[in-house]
């Protein structure tokens, strides 16, 4: 029986979109990010998962995945944002199958609209069992309180048979999925300082009646 300890020594390959810079990156073979051109890729929207994501510099990403697309997990707390996790495949742009996840509001909005189009088209007889090919054709600047960010233009270009490299499976580990029966972590409340202690009165100074 193997010991259930230690790391796997492997890191999931990924693609990510920097909404601040309108740039796409994949993990380079040496580690770190490597910029790529606007990609065209297969996106496994059938198995997309949503949930609460938190990315903090220098720390491992944290995620609490919704039990299903129509059942939202309770927020784990501050700094967690709604986001998605989905598998994507492109030999040309990504070098194979990668994880695509983000909590960017603009990217999430683009993927939400893409998913709506996917739902509408996936029921057509000619698309059954197939996977959509998504093309990033540009980006639109979005001004908000954080300055200018970009929303990528993602379009369903066509539908193709599912390749062996993109298994019909969940893109997240089961341990990351919120279990409804488990107690959800609730945000703690700030505890004020204790009231200042007044020294006990000197009995010798107390008035006697």
């Amino acid at each position: 029986m193997p010991l259930q300890i230690g790391g796997s020594g492997t890191v999931k390959p990924y693609v990510k979109y920097n909404a601040k810079a309108d740039k796409w990156f994949v993990r380079s073979p040496e580690g770190g990010d490597m910029e790529i051109a606007r990609p065209m890729f297969l996106l496994d929207l059938k198995n997309i998962r949503t949930g609460w994501l938190r990315f903090r510099e220098g720390q491992a990403p944290e995620r609490v995945i919704d039990p299903s697309l129509d059942r939202v997990a309770p927020s784990p707390g501050d700094d967690f944002k709604r986001g998605f996790v989905v598998a994507a495949f492109s030999q040309k742009f990504f070098g194979g199958t990668v994880e695509f996840s983000s909590a960017s509001i603009h990217l999430s909005n683009a993927v939400r609209d893409l998913y709506a189009a996917f739902e509408e088209q996936s029921g057509r007889p000619e698309n059954r069992g197939k996977v959509p090919v998504v093309a990033c054709t540009g980006a639109d600047p979005m001004k908000d309180k954080y300055g200018t960010n970009y929303r990528p233009r993602l379009e369903l270009a066509k539908w193709v048979d599912r390749p062996a490299e993109l298994p019909d499976a969940s893109p997240v580990d089961d341990v990351d999925v919120w279990k409804g029966s488990a107690p959800a972590q609730t945000a703690a409340a700030h505890v004020p300082p204790p009231p200042a202690r007044t020294p006990a009165p000197d009995p010798a100074l107390e008035t006697e009646f």
């Binding site: 010991l3 230690g6 204790p194 202690r197």
Partner: protein
């Protein structure tokens, strides 16, 4: 559990931080604690130590100007990181004073602590060696133990690693309350613009974390019992160098020597 498993590897006691490391990165635990290849103090740990030093000076002397405490903390940070090659050193140094000022405004309201870096020791069922720890401050007038954490962002709640640490402190102090003060370098933009948040552990939290510590310690004992040879033990686990636990270049370099890749 056979005490020899710990003894033969020279493990005379455990700590919450050691058990947290074992739980998170067993390979790093083996490298540091069994093979003696300790990673240098990280910049974040040095920040925490330095801020704690400055805050302590301000707590034991309520009349000491906060700016003096901040300056002392910066000196301590410079001392601790004198040989550090971390590029974040200068950036972190600039924040030291802010952490100290914010923490002192909050914690001076607790009064003067009557214990600092006080050693505590607890025993866990079936674990043959004690778990020791050193509390930050004890305020016996209020029945409280307070541990200071520096952070860039407030956590939503006390996380498991801190909770385990607090469980050791609290269980060694009977019915004292255990609080964690999370200090940021500057007030946030949200209203109210807090710079410090203080969370208190419940009795259930303490029990739950003690239970977890016991299971983690038992797991460690079983692992140590597999072999008398630390190198053989290192050979059955695999490090995850992508983990932030291995972010220090010196630690990764040592890890490559130990684990061979």
């Amino acid at each position: 559990m056979n005490a020899h498993a710990f003894e033969r590897h020279g493990v005379g006691h455990l700590s919450a931080s050691s058990l947290n490391l074992w739980a998170a990165q067993p390979a790093l635990w083996v490298m540091e604690r069994l093979l003696g290849r300790r990673a240098p103090m990280g910049i974040t740990a040095a920040r925490g130590k330095a801020v704690e030093h400055g805050v302590h000076l301000g707590l034991i002397d309520p009349a000491k100007p906060i700016d003096d405490c901040a300056a002392e903390a910066e000196r301590e940070f410079n001392r601790l990181t004198a040989l550090a090659g971390d590029p974040r050193r200068d950036e972190e140094r600039l924040k030291i004073g802010g952490y100290v000022r914010g923490a002192l405004v909050e914690l001076r309201q607790y009064g003067v602590p009557d214990a600092y870096q006080h050693r505590v020791e607890v025993r866990l069922d079936d674990v043959p060696v004690p778990v020791v720890g050193f509390i930050d401050w004890r305020f016996s007038d209020h029945g409280l133990i307070v541990d200071l954490k520096t952070t860039e962002r407030f956590p939503a709640a006390i996380g498991d690693p801190h909770g385990r640490q607090g469980a050791v402190y609290a269980s060694a102090h009977g019915n004292f309350g255990m609080r964690f003060a999370y200090a940021k370098p500057a007030p946030g933009k949200k209203e109210p613009a807090n710079q410090v948040r203080v969370y208190e552990m419940s009795g259930d939290d303490v029990r739950r974390h003690l239970s977890a510590l016991r299971l983690i310690a038992l797991s460690l004992g079983r692992f140590l019992a597999l072999s008398n040879d630390p190198r053989e033990l290192a050979g059955v686990i695999v490090p995850d160098f992508e983990s932030f636990w291995w972010s220090d270049p010196a630690a990764r370099a040592a890890g490559r020597e130990v684990f061979g890749f």
